[in-house]
Amino acid sequence: MWVTRKGVVSLLIPVALVIPACRRDIPVPASPPATADSPANAPATKRVVGPLSDADAQALATMNDRIKDYIALHQKLERTLPAVPKEATPEQIDQNQRALENLVQKNRATAKPGDIFTPTAQPVIKRLLATVFGGPDGKQLKASIMDENPVGTKLAVNARYPDIVPLSTVPPEVLQTLPKLPEELQYRFVGNRLIILDAHAHVVADFIEDALPN
């Protein structure tokens, strides 16, 4: 007979012990009238930012403009480098990534927080996230994000994403809510910060503090 210690322990623990569920309601800022489908109703094939007022849409447009500028620079720099072979060694992948990292850092030497997540876009982003995390699946979504998501990590805009920090989960419900990013960029969470990661250069393009509601 093969017996697990866990099995024994689980049997000996009184099953009648019930711990009252502790639910902390996340305050959800009032949303303006919707001009787009809400994330809950949006077709899964579409990335929908909403609900949005015209003012919110304009605020996010400022961020989209910065993303376009960033990508234009990124692609211009990437074109100066040899392409990664389709069957590369880890060293080739790493060399290419670090070469692009250096170029991006040199060309964005004055980059600072808020350059992409513009001050006008940040409150909208936070409200969109609060809506998602305040929904019925919010607790599970947050648990999913916090899985392998270390807190207390130091970050700096235009710095290399720390090598030893795992790449966190960003659930599809969250991605669907946020403005779409091109292939070169990714949203990730580091602690409660939402970052935009340049996935090719492994550089933190920008981040928002306290984006993940408590």
């Binding site: 007979m1 093969w2 017996v3 697990t4 866990k6 099995g7 024994v8 689980s10 049997l11 077709p43 899964a44 094939t45 579409k46 990664v84 072979p85 389709k86 069957e87 590369a88 060694t89 880890p90 060293e91 080739q92 992948i93 790493d94 990534q97 599970q140 648990a143 999913s144 899985d147 392998e148 090598d163 030893i164 920090v165 795992p166 790449l167 966190s168 989960t169 960003v170 599809p172 419900e173 991605l175 669907q176 292939e183 990714q186 996935a199 090719h200 492994h202």
Partner: protein
């Protein structure tokens, strides 16, 4: 005269047996398509039916930790390989956890699976939420720079590797085109996020299911291989398709299968596991094998056939 054991000892023994039964024999399948049996064993697994000329492969997910359990799983995979010569390993994502530097490719992949790589076993990867996209260029993952791709190891079998972390509409259009064009009897999809899972941590990805399931049904996909939740689960056939979660190739989230989900045909969440499978004609035989070499689930699946 033999003494009768005290009543409390008998009850305790029965409870322990019950635990073992729960761990290894959970949720006997009821669906007609799947004929499964669970065979607890301490022997190195010898999968079935292990015929010459059949197509044999393994499935591994959520493995690249670099920790001891991953290495032990890798040893077990090679022990099984010595008796069951699978040619391919499908990776369902989270191939490298944490750092993804050159030394991490070695410590979390090349070293543990060296015996298999040296034996000529080919790995085909899909990417998980913890994977850097640059992995698509890594030669041993055979992605050839693509985030999603398809390949056909034999004319009657075609695999579709998908990217489920940042799925873009273009991928779904591509998938429909490829599924439609394929005349293979066996169409098998693999990717990271499960469309069906009893995981208490992650569970089913409903939004992805809304998009992918209609395509799988329309174009005759028979089997879907996923990971993300850190356990092994064979889901009861959903609309005729069999879904597997094989997310404990290195990681493990003990006791995370929600036993009330109603989805589970067989589940194993008390140790790491991987899968081996074999296609013989219209049947796919499979074994789920634990880190200790126990067969924790086995059975066969009949491929789907579209009704004209």
């Amino acid at each position: 005269m033999r003494r009768r054991p005290p009543f409390v000892v008998l009850v305790f023994t029965l409870l322990l047996l019950g635990t073992e039964f729960r761990d290894a024999v959970d949720f006997a399948p009821r669906a007609s398509l799947v004929h499964a049996q669970q065979t607890p064993s301490t022997e190195v697994a010898v999968p079935l039916p292990n015929r010459d000329g059949s197509f044999k492969f393994a499935v591994l997910g959520d493995f690249g930790t670099g920790d001891r359990p991953q290495y032990q799983m890798a040893e077990q995979m090679f022990a099984v390989y010595k008796k069951f010569k699978y040619d391919f390993v499908m990776l369902v994502g989270d191939n490298l956890y944490g750092a993804q530097r050159p030394q991490d490719f070695r410590n979390k992949f090349e070293v543990p699976y060296k015996p298999l790589l040296d034996a000529g076993v080919k790995f085909y990867a899909s990417l998980g939420n913890h994977d850097a996209r640059e992995q698509r260029y890594y030669k041993p993952f055979n992605m050839e720079g693509q985030l999603y791709y398809t390949f056909s190891p034999r004319p009657d079998i075609r695999f579709f590797a998908l990217e489920s972390t940042y799925p873009v509409p273009e991928q779904f259009q591509w998938l429909e085109k490829e599924l439609k064009a394929s005349g293979s009897d066996w169409k098998i999809a693999f990717f990271h996020h499960p469309l069906y899972s009893s995981g208490d941590r992650h569970g089913s990805d409903i939004r992805l299911r809304e998009v992918l399931e209609p395509l799988f049904l329309k174009y005759n996909v028979s089997v879907v291989l996923t990971g993300h939740d850190h356990f092994y689960e064979r889901v009861k056939p959903q609309k005729g398709i069999t879904y597997f979660v094989t997310g404990s190739g290195g990681q493990l989230r003990e006791g995370n299968i929600d036993r009330q989900s109603g989805l589970t045909a067989s589940g194993f969440d008390t140790d790491q596991a991987f899968m081996v499978a074999e296609i013989v004609g219209d049947q796919m035989y499979f074994n789920a094998v634990s880190r200790t070499g126990r067969i924790v689930d086995s059975g066969s699946i009949a491929r789907r056939k579209l009704v004209p």
